[in-house]
Symmetry: none
Subunit: 214 residues, 4 copies
């Protein structure tokens, strides 16, 4: 029984490692082509496993998109506690910290993130996936909303509609990766300064008015 548990454990570890391989391979492939131009075989080979072996870890090609979502959101969510810890209990710092982390993760996977952001439209129409997507993204969304709410309660942040601001702030980050032929991308740091200034100027209550200081 102990052996069985250990095996189970090893299997889980193996599966996790394989899924990570597949995730990274998919990111590399999607940096070159669209989701539909990329074949399952190509992603499998890029991951160093045989074409058919993808299906030992994934149910379908579409599930690669779910894997991408879970992996990227996961990296973000893992970073949240430390961001919170370093925010000195100032929701403004926490908000900017989350946005910075978001931009960092997006920057890490750029193209794949843009692809994912497009394909997710169609994925979430499938009720089977919608729940899983929500589960993966919610901790991040909650952290963002939580910081905003606490900021409002403390009189440090102002906004009208929580939901729409939450999404707008995320859009400011993701816009960085989404620009197609219309957008001449600047480097990440330049972009970061731009949106940070935007957020501070528009949403943060001026120091003279607010009680604390950033």
């Amino acid at each position: 029984m102990a052996a069985a548990i250990k095996l189970q454990h090893q299997d889980d570890l193996l599966a996790k490692a394989r899924r990570r391989q597949i995730f990274l391979a998919a990111c590399r492939v999607l940096a070159r082509k669209s989701f539909h131009q990329a074949t399952v075989k190509e992603i499998a080979l890029e991951a160093g496993i045989a074409a058919g072996s993808i299906y030992l870890y994934l149910q379908s090609k579409d599930e690669i998109l779910l894997l991408l979502t879970e992996s990227m959101a996961g990296e973000l969510v893992e970073a949240l506690p430390e961001i919170r810890a370093h925010s000195n209990n100032d929701p403004r710092r926490e908000l900017l910290g989350i946005m910075r982390a978001t931009l960092t993760v997006i920057d890490r996977y750029q193209e794949a993130f843009a692809v994912l952001n497009h394909e997710i439209r169609y994925l979430e129409r499938n009720s089977q996936y919608r729940a899983a997507l929500k589960r993966a993204i919610d901790p991040y969304r909650s952290a963002l909303a939580g910081a905003l709410e606490r900021g409002k309660d403390l009189g440090l942040i102002r906004y009208e509609n929580l939901r729409s601001v939450t999404e707008a702030l995320h859009m400011l980050c993701s816009g960085w990766a989404m620009g197609g032929s219309f957008l001449a991308k600047t480097d990440r740091e330049t972009y970061w300064r731009e949106i940070a200034a935007l957020v501070e100027g528009r949403f943060f209550v001026p120091a003279a008015t607010a009680g604390g200081k950033l």
Copy 2:
């Protein structure tokens, strides 16, 4: 000879009308599914023509994307003279006018615009298309840039890098259609007020400092 010209003229009109039919059909279909899920046959039938007849007006499925670009950008470009005329020679009004028109067009085709914005990444890798895309979009981009430059010259608008601001402003408009599962879309007018305020607050020189008034 007159007859020949008339025929030629009629043919042009026919082709133009058919291409418009196809454009509108593609928009309707792309509101339901992705470009790769949509079949040429489906779009043709939606346009009220036979499956094969698409190829009388288009060289390939990809050219549908070019048609979308030309049609949407075309609607925008057609509106430019009047926007200019009504701007009272104030580049700030012209800038906001262009952005409002952009948002209006994007709103009209929403889903199809989002699809186009994604697919255009892959389309523009084909040098044959890149030139055509540029040709379609440039008048719009120039108008935006022109208003910004004139505004700067007159001391009414401030910015650092023309190119990056031009693109950022466009992104503010297109972001409206691009949000996937992350973005809970608010209605267009609410969004418009949001970004208009953003532009006015950040880029426009305060009335106290600037010479004219908006």
Copy 3:
């Protein structure tokens, strides 16, 4: 009535001229590509008529092959009386004359002839066409066979099996156009001397034995 007849006559002449145009156009097109690579539209335009107009003179694409057969065989058949007249009643001269004319016609249409010779395999499986093909070719075949028979009767030509010799002699001529990648074609005159010598040496009874002289 006279007018009607005249019109009919004119119509016939017109149709004949159009069919000639189409024949020549088809030859030009088939010099560049195979029968299946060539489109009806392409041949029509090459003939200087509109795509759909082919069907005023032909029932189907396959009938182009019939037209080719009739036209090429026709040119040959038209030459037969004069060949006969110049043969001085010597079947050997007539035979060589026919073969020379055959080679001339084949040379004139080379590629199209080769294409026709291939496609005719499939055309003649259609009983509707078989009769028409036979009707077009028979005068030529008869002339060839006739010369051989008369030659044999006069003791000037020797052979075993009439049918097989007739065909072999034709093959000698058509081989000139049929060589694909295997055959490095020599010029027509060189080839003609080669096969003429072959015929004289192999089939003709030596002068010492035969009564007359060539």
Copy 4:
């Protein structure tokens, strides 16, 4: 390692066997219809594999023609060493041996050979295929040319132009399969006696003149 080699070996064997299946299936189908009338699916099913499986062993439909060329030429080339061995060092025997083998292979695939001989015209316009075709045919062509050259050196065979004779001799063999409606095919042996006599009488130096005897 041994296992890997064995697997590799087995895979090669499998691919070879499948390609052979496809070759034979193509021959059977092409005995019934032209290359363009034959569909890839039909050939695949005739080969006992699924429609799409053809593409595991072939890049395109056209490559079937290359496969035909390689297979037929291959059968010929495999026979060459033994022909050489049995020729008793007499180039005349070797030459006739090669021609007889050629006729045998052509007889085996008759219709498919005729189709191939036609389609190869268009295939060899593609430079990618030209090289492969040449590679497949060259050993055969060299053997033919080699026998002719050695024969000439020994004073046993006479000819003017090596290249053109080589091709003419091949044409004598292939003509057997090429005759369309014009040629009433005789049986192979009759035809063989015919062309063998032709070669002996025309190209071989008479015994009185030559040193050796056949």
